[in-house]
Assembly symmetry: C2
Homo-oligomer: 361 residues x 2
């Protein structure tokens, strides 16, 4: 595909690090070994960015009604007095290994954030660890929590208790740059010497259900995001408001869930002219089926590469961030085409306000 | 597909009235005859809502650089002193025929709006004509105009001059109700007698390029829109910023354009839990290829029915608006899940503001 002037390639070899099921009986040490094994395989393929799923280190525990230590065990403690989450003994080995391989990492985890008064607030979070900087350079807390606060009471209801266990993210959608992820990026003070050069890649992060919310993508798109990282745990069927599976065959249900996943990731990547790296925890966790669909999507909306299993699997592609340039400067040149004067209800209204009913005559 | 309590069906038989090419030499009388013929076929299939394309009555003239009478001939005059556009001799026969068949109509046209001082402002517009009410009950002026004000100067450049010929729409995205389009709709004052009943169907309208802008869909979604009507004329290849076709085979180019069309319509229908009726003017107009892809999309994102030709063709489906209820009350129950405190840049920022460059060390 040509553009008017051949843009300088900005290549990144990226891996979507899909995880198969993590059962209740699996230990964190077991999972960490699997993740480190994926990093080793990624390094052999020249990968510089590895994206892991949401809540990657454990089973998807919000499907269970838990309390006390049964719940606490799933969280990693973030205590400002003791350093960031990268100091957690559960997580540090992953970043240490990534650093030894020069690979950046996105990973999701359950965050217990200790407040100054000693109390805590819990979030469904992700961080972006930069191997070059040897630190976390991006942090995100899931904004769009699905499910309910109170468990569904109907017999046989499926639970989704994220709204019970987590507070909605308070960090917004903060795009950030990944230092050194591509060669030749302009640095502060370099700009006057270049009219066409680009800085370090601009990264966005979402978690699972967020990917169905175009507002989230757009706020990142308005920061020039080039790569969206998004991990997820997505149940392979749909439920009614009482928590029962919608009455259709398992195959049809999974096909529908997969359609929604693809429309969300491909549609929003296209409409924001960005790559997206979408990574599942998949397979059946103690009998609870999760969809796969791990895939790397192009800014023109097509799937570059996707997973073929529901197990631990690496999906690797070398992407060229220069492919964002044409759509960002033509059909999606936001500054030329957006009409913000007509968008106000997006921020002024949370729920639906219907047009009033018509008169009977 | 079951829900918790079987909702009362709210059935609408709808037709996407695709038009094949309209060449420069075709008269408006010729086109009107084709449209009326489609209405007659629709009536035979029990259709109550017929959706026609953008700028349905003429060739897609913004591909030409025109002035004076050569340009003026494409516009329909809307002069408040002489009644609305439905009085235009070019358009009135369509609505008269629709009324005789009891069919509502969405149709796109080039609007020349006469101002109180006698000057005029031009818009790329659509109206919704209600057969039951025998009047226009919805009007929309295209907000997201593609293309450029000045013609591309490079030799052999393709032109897209909508930004030259039209002003961006000034009406926002006003959803409205279609009187009597389904049986048994609640009317003003009936609500206290029903906890589950619904009013007349809530309709949204977009035009062509608007469908790629999630903000537009969302503003309608926040009004409870159940059916989106969208006509389009979409070039079957993509161009660079200088106006040249992107260098790829015609087949690959058309496939890519079709992918973008489908991701936009299916993705945004899914994310707003609405039906959408997407209608092409298609085929080659004097050698200029337009994509087809006319289709009716379900609120769960799948295509219910789509066109198989690039000629005048009726795509008919009976849809049940009750199918919007489950997604609107679960995954897309906006009032439970949206977090407007994080969406502000969508209205506060038109173009991109990138994160600042990193320091070199």
């Amino acid at each position: 595909m040509s553009s008017d002037t051949a843009a300088t390639p900005r290549l990144v070899t990226a891996a979507a690090c899909q995880l198969g099921p993590i059962h209740l009986a699996d230990t964190r040490e077991d999972v960490l070994k699997r993740m480190i094994s994926l990093l080793d395989q990624a390094a052999e393929q020249g990968v510089k960015l590895a994206v892991f799923p949401e809540l990657a280190f454990t089973t998807f525990f919000p499907r269970y009604l838990l309390e006390g230590q049964d719940l606490d065990q799933y969280f990693d403690i973030e205590d400002p007095r003791k350093g960031g989450i990268e100091q957690s003994p559960n997580i540090k080995p992953l970043f240490d290994h990534a650093r030894s391989l020069d690979i950046d990492v996105y990973v999701g985890y359950a965050e217990r954030s200790i407040q100054s008064d000693g109390s805590h607030v819990d979030y469904n979070s992700s961080v972006y660890y930069s191997a070059k900087a040897n630190k976390i350079v991006g942090k995100y807390r899931k904004v769009h929590l699905p499910g309910s606060v109170e468990p569904k009471t109907a017999a046989g209801a499926f639970q989704q208790l994220e709204k019970r266990y987590f507070r909605p993210g308070d960090l917004g959608f903060p795009a950030f740059r990944a230092p050194g992820l591509v060669d030749g990026a302009l640095k502060k003070g370099d700009m006057e010497n270049s009219t066409t050069g680009k800085g370090d890649p601009i990264i966005g992060m979402l978690i699972c259900n967020d990917r169905r919310w175009p507002e989230a993508w757009r706020v990142y798109g308005l920061q020039g995001m080039e790569i969206m990282c998004c991990g997820y745990n997505t149940t392979a069927f749909q439920t009614t408001s009482s928590g029962h599976a919608v009455d259709m065959s398992p195959e049809a249900a999974e096909e529908l869930v997969m359609l929604h996943h693809k429309l969300s990731c491909q549609g929003n990547s296209y409409m924001n002219a960005c790559f997206s790296i979408n990574v599942a925890k998949t397979g059946a966790e103690d009998g609870n089926p999760l969809v796969g669909g791990t895939m790397i999507v192009h800014p023109l909306g097509h799937i570059i590469k996707e997973a073929v299993t529901k197990e631990d699997e690496l999906v690797v592609a070398t992407i060229d961030l220069a492919d964002c340039d044409r759509p960002k400067s033509t059909v999606f040149a936001f500054e030329k085409h957006r009409r913000t004067e007509h968008y106000h209800s997006i921020v002024e209204r949370t729920g639906v306000v219907e047009p009033e009913l018509l008169a009977s005559d």
